[in-house]
Symmetry: C2
Subunit: 136 residues, 2 copies
């Protein structure tokens, strides 16, 4: 397993999502499961991922597939009472940092619950006033 | 790449989804992106996949990751006017047939469009009268 992917699983397991910023490229692109847009940049992406980490409970990575710069990390979790399964689709850059991070999930109803919860959080997090232009 | 995975990409590229049944295990389990249930059995799963193949347009596999029995096939497609990205999460059995097939996707709105379209098709496909008990 690539050391960045290993570090990613360790950070998630630790519950300290603030460390995720270490392994993000400066111009990282994050595509959420909830809408067809892209967050760009290390700081806003780390902030979004911090909220996701608080919305997901009972999170567990299952299979980790891939090699080189291309990785698929299968996971299961809860969103409130809803069960969910997903995949973190990761692309690393030459420096071994995450330059693309796309998340796909099932089922539809659980992603709806995630969207509602994320909207509430982002709307009340003052940092997102300055991150507005990071959503493209 | 495992020969079954290669065959899967060839069948999808050919547009002849009726051939997918060749590579499904007798007791294959299919978990759709739309709801938290599982279709069980080669015939109903092939029928569901046949409809999915007709709902998706501009379908293209992107990265194929994995080894041995565990595979993640990243794809992009359209559902009507909606863009979508997804992953086919595949588990093979000892005979090299697909025993588990779980699909995760983004974004939420596109999966909603897929759900509506699939409901319409399954409700008007007479085969699904006998497949009722295959949905668990």
């Amino acid at each position: 397993m690539h050391p960045t992917v290993k570090r990613m699983t360790e950070i998630v397991a630790s519950g300290d999502d603030s460390k995720i910023i270490e392994i993000l490229a400066e111009e990282v692109r994050f595509m959420p499961p909830t809408y067809w847009k892209t967050w760009v940049g290390r700081e806003p992406v780390a902030a979004v991922l911090g909220h996701v980490g608080q919305v997901f409970s009972n999170f567990r990575y299952r299979r980790i597939m891939g090699e080189g710069k291309d990785w698929a990390l299968e996971f299961q979790c809860k969103i409130g009472d809803h069960d969910a399964v997903g995949v973190d689709l990761i692309t690393l850059n030459d420096a071994g940092l995450i330059e693309e991070f796309e998340v796909v999930m099932r089922p539809h109803s659980s992603v709806g619950a995630l969207r509602d919860e994320m909207n509430k959080r982002v709307m009340t997090d003052a940092r997102f006033l300055k991150f507005k232009e990071a959503l493209r």
